[in-house]
Symmetry: D2
Subunit: 337 residues, 4 copies
């Protein structure tokens, strides 16, 4: 941690700042420049609140040098984390392909889609039961009934199921019934929910928030891990920018950046990142080329009648075709579908 | 609602689109241009899902003309909403001044601040009991004990209390003990929480999300109002942009825009918008000049030792000075403190 | 300047970094932490390229402590700069009110508007002769003929004229004929143009770029000042964000921030910041309340027929009304119209 | 074009709006809804200024349906444009690989890099002679001498040269000496410069502005094409967002979007998009996977001593390795290096 003092600070001001930090196990390195004096703090700074120092009247600015995330940090855990889900692995050699409809709509619908994505090679079935919708007047999902239908589809196809949780009160239900619990973009900083799922051991698919930095995203993973659950899968799904042609802007750089900063697996959601079905294929390929550990793709047997997010869903035959192409890219990266 | 067909669409394509909408009480107005054919939908379109139409293979784009928010829309409720809280009004002639520390830290602290902000003219006391923090390792607030201390301060000073809720499981506690329930920026689209507070009749202070549009913000108000609670106070607190000099960018235009689109009261939080105490005064004045119904300001008797958000807190004597200046601006706008 | 070394760097790595900087007049302060080693550079670092150091294989990151702008920096020039233009001052006690149409369209139009804004109290006349338009098919301004008409209006009303330059090849023409040369937002980093106007002594109205930080904006002022022209007036005109309800987002915080960082005058353009005439009044008032040295407002005698930017222009009678209100706010700030 | 009238507009208001458009060759389609009345304009609307209509007091909003770009629009030119440069093609089966240093520094430097990138398979040599720098105190490039050195390197290696123009006054020099003229991100809306290069027949590499939409980017291409020069190559180089870990955010979706909207070739600059050499490889691969027609990569024989942009430059041996990997991805896309 580096403390920059206000211009024309002297020994007196330096002392007032360092004495305010006396209780901590740190040593101070003073650098006096012509215009600027800097105090470097060395030692265990994890308990020091940067903002408290910034209110000191002699302090101009505080810069932090070390990353605030610990358990998710690759520096302290150099090997990749590989997460096991029902005899499948996420973060290992196989790419995790998760596919399914935006919303579970009926037994026939979810079963039919599950079967077809399985045939094309998907390893996991996704489907929304509780749906976050901008409007209170829009379809909110089948809720608990949706979970029941997902379980039926799992029973018939063997595909583990991935679905989004929206409230801490359902953590018990999800823990019992669901294989991967998804935290949606809008809840990435719903800290209460993060703490609750941190108490389980279930794999958590943590989507990046619409306007959250990579560091904040890793701090949200840290919430789950600090609670005792190391099984976090990160999912880049586009950020909000000034560009309105696509619904969001897929931050493709986030893939290699996460791989450098963290040991956690990271996958990409090209469907939500753009909101357009014709962009799923090029972005899924780009994700694999950039080093993603998998993709999550919306597939619907009848996108024109989908109860939500139709425009970004693709048909099973399109999905099959994308899978064939992804296999080539996976191989180029030394991986497999 | 306006449906733009793909280039070179003919009568056949038009018919396929209109026939897919046969069940709805709408009429169609067809405009055939040289390159573009447009179908205008007139009638009750509230039940039609725009995205479903967009998946139609003959459709290029759908544009919506009417605003998706109803109960919060000024078109259907032309007069300003004035919300009563313990014999005080928000949205009327008096500006609502809410002040207090980021976090409740002790009985002495909250009582001392409450007393001094009351003397300077504040009408409401704010203080965080449950704190949303980016890091799981940071101070998370005194929680239920913080609420107890706020109640003590209210008892002694008579100031109604405003504090943030983070989980649906505490709605009962807040309903019983708190005068205005705050929904923080990170929970603006925590739809489950919005629904829960919509079941109460308590005034809700709804902060704008970091990266949420004005329309999405009004849709979140709509969630609360659709649940039966009309008492929503909007709070602009800065949005996330590329500029990093200030913590966020205060969207001052949002004040007059909200006043045009909605009948709900809107206040401004200059402390969180910038993260810097020296910016509180100019932005509080700008907020009043732009037509805000009040401001919420962080005040701490000892900002250097505040357990969180110290840099943006001001001292009671600075607050008193700001209040004197705001009085002049209030008068210029035909209002009072 | 602070150099953070890669984890596990030892004396050998420190030496390799410091020896690469041997030619410079700097001293080094080494801080070795458990995980991180930091080298603080003290002395004259103006000639050291931060990016060169970052390529050193032992370096993780470089942080700069001091601000890169010199001539525009308040630290080295504590008093406000006041710029004289034809017996008027910008940056002093009087607020600078600049008004006029987006484009000069005809002699009658510019003269009529000039007369009416003068009567309402405007001190400067603005009007576009060379117009930056997104589309090559849109009206590009009357060009040199527009300058001629502005001069006629100045002759009749005595108002100094402000107009935008788009190409270095017209610097001579503008130097001879125009009182304040405007650099538009799209040219804020047209460094060639900045250098050219830096060779004149004319006051330069430098608009902030759509997506430029406050620091970059001051660096563009620095280009002009480094060329020998100290007469720079900054103009905040809205930045590009995700919010689409307004054309841009007025960054009201930029006013007090500029006042802290720099001694240069700063004004606000509420017309371009929002693109909506009904937002001009509240934002002009907010600008004055936040400490701006003036405003620039689009006024047109017939906005419905304006050849460009009609929606954001106001009529002369609306302008007169705004001026009356601004007088109250100016007084509250200890200033005058 | 669709005109939405203010609420409660009747026949009288409709007439006032339509009669204001009498001079144009358009027909009107009126749709009266319960709350909203819409006028659809069909015919040749290219000469109608949307903003003029928006100032009509009866009009709430105007929506444009057709795209404002014509010559760059794929609708009117369905086949891909392939641009010939010195017996090489850009936009055809071969991917265009452009490589070289940020700045030309000396004859030895540019020749040595040119030779090594040629051996690795690069088809074009890039190198900055005139450099846009945020600071007036930073190295501004060798200018005309840099062009001379590029020509020497071309003579020896046969590689066509690509370099950035910053001022209209050098168009003649660039036309004579350079093979592809680059317009940098900061000059994307320097309309004067666009017009000048539009008068030549030289291929123009048009970089996307930091905060410009895809539509604005195509409109800037339109400026060049409207001037008579059809040879425009688009270059995505990252946009400015709230994320600060990377210098910019590469908008990978822009590649397939441009391919849909336009017939022009589009390439990607992974070096400037991120500002980090270790991100060049994953992003170059992602670009090819997403359908880009090429990449432009910064290569320096001694990045630690580069006079600018060192951190994002890679060494020749790294470049060679990237080229081998790109060949695999090119093949997967049915293309060649």
């Amino acid at each position: 941690m580096i403390i920059i003092l206000k211009p024309n600070s002297g020994d007196n001001e330096i002392k007032k700042v360092t004495s305010s930090l006396e209780g901590y196990k740190v040593s101070f390195h003073i650098s006096k420049g012509q215009h600027t004096t800097i105090i470097g703090l060395v030692g265990d700074i994890s308990a020091i609140d940067r903002e408290m120092i910034e209110t000191n009247p002699y302090v101009e600015r505080v810069m932090t040098v070390s990353e605030p995330f610990k358990k998710s940090n690759r520096k302290f855990h150099p090997e990749n984390t590989v997460i096991s889900v029902c005899q499948r692995e996420i973060g290992g050699k196989h790419l995790a392909i998760i596919a399914g409809p935006c919303s579970v709509e009926s037994e026939e619908q979810i079963y039919s889609i599950a079967q077809s994505v399985k045939q094309s090679g998907a390893m996991f079935l996704r489907g929304g039961a509780f749906k976050p919708r901008t409007s209170p007047y829009a379809f909110q999902g089948l809720e608990a009934e949706g979970i029941r239908l997902l379980k039926l589809a799992r029973e018939k196809t063997g595909l583990p199921i991935v679905t989004e949780i929206m409230s801490p009160k359902f953590v018990g239900l999800f823990e019992a019934d669901v294989d991967i619990i998804q935290i949606g973009a809008r809840n990435m900083q719903n800290f209460d929910l993060l703490k609750e799922v941190g108490r389980t051991k279930k794999p958590i698919l943590l989507k990046r928030g619409l306007a959250n930095t990579i560091e904040e995203w890793l701090m949200s993973a840290e919430y789950i891990m600090a609670g005792g659950n190391p099984n976090v899968i990160l999912c880049e799904r586009g950020i909000r920018t000034f560009e309105t042609y696509t619904r969001n802007t897929l931050d493709i750089s986030a893939i290699p950046v996460i791989k450098k900063l963290s040991h956690l697996p990271v996958i990409v959601d090209p469907s939500h990142a753009t909101g357009a079905s014709w962009l799923v294929e090029p972005l899924a390929k780009a994700a694999v080329a950039a080093g993603a550990d998998g993709v999550i793709i919306e597939v619907h047997n009848n996108p024109e009648c989908a109860l939500c997010d139709g425009p970004q869903s693709i048909k099973p035959e399109v999905f099959e075709n994308i899978m064939k192409k992804l296999a080539v890219y996976a191989k180029a990266e030394g991986r497999e579908l």
